[in-house]
């Protein structure tokens, strides 16, 4: 696959963050956000096209995982919301 463009990378980042919102569980939501931000920042300095493409496809497969898991988690959503979700 050809090297992804800047807009594609930003779009993947945004899709991953949006997928995080679908989770009913606070912990997983925060983890997804934290993990995507950390990994994108860590890979920001990559300059080798093949490693950029590899990281991009890795990100895409993680996006698919997140989307599937949000559906599965929603099937068995906890009835009691996490304390962090309750606004004071």
């Amino acid at each position: 696959m050809a090297t992804p463009s800047r807009t594609e990378i930003i779009s993947l980042f945004r899709s991953l963050l949006r997928s995080a919102r679908q989770f009913p569980d606070y912990n997983i939501r925060e983890y997804t956000k934290r993990r995507t931000i950390d990994s994108f920042r860590h890979n920001k300095t990559l300059s080798d096209p093949s490693s950029i493409a590899a990281a991009f496809s890795d990100g895409q497969s993680q996006l698919q995982v997140a989307r599937r898991q949000s559906v599965v988690y929603s099937l068995y959503a906890p009835k009691i919301k996490s304390i962090m979700d309750v606004k004071p």
């Binding site: 930003i10 980042f13 945004r14 963050l17 949006r18 919102r21 931000i37 994108f40 920042r41 920001k44």
Partner: protein
Amino acid sequence: MASALRAAILGHLRVPVLANGSNLLTPLWIHRTTSVRSMSSHDDHLEKSQVIDRILDIVKSFPKVDPSKVTSEVHFQKDLGLDSLDNVEIIMAIEEEFKLEIPDKEADKIDSCALAIEYVYNHPLAS
């Protein structure tokens, strides 16, 4: 969407009143009728000052940002030294605060506080 239509209709209706009725109303009254939609019983549009305050709070609470530099005219990348990933994060936080869904094309254009405030203020579904 209905409220945007309502705003458009009211904008058109308001013009004839000001054109020939201004000498009957006191200056204070004129301000009231121009800034408040007197015909709607349920005003669900946000005040611009509220929008500005909420957006500035979001930007200031971003960990990489120096709160003292944040004004409503700052540019995220030029003035605050953020990069495009931080840009996306801030726009996500704004989406969550105002319960909006900003499409990618619009979100890519939002580069500064001023643009964000404009976008949210003009969005009919912001809350």
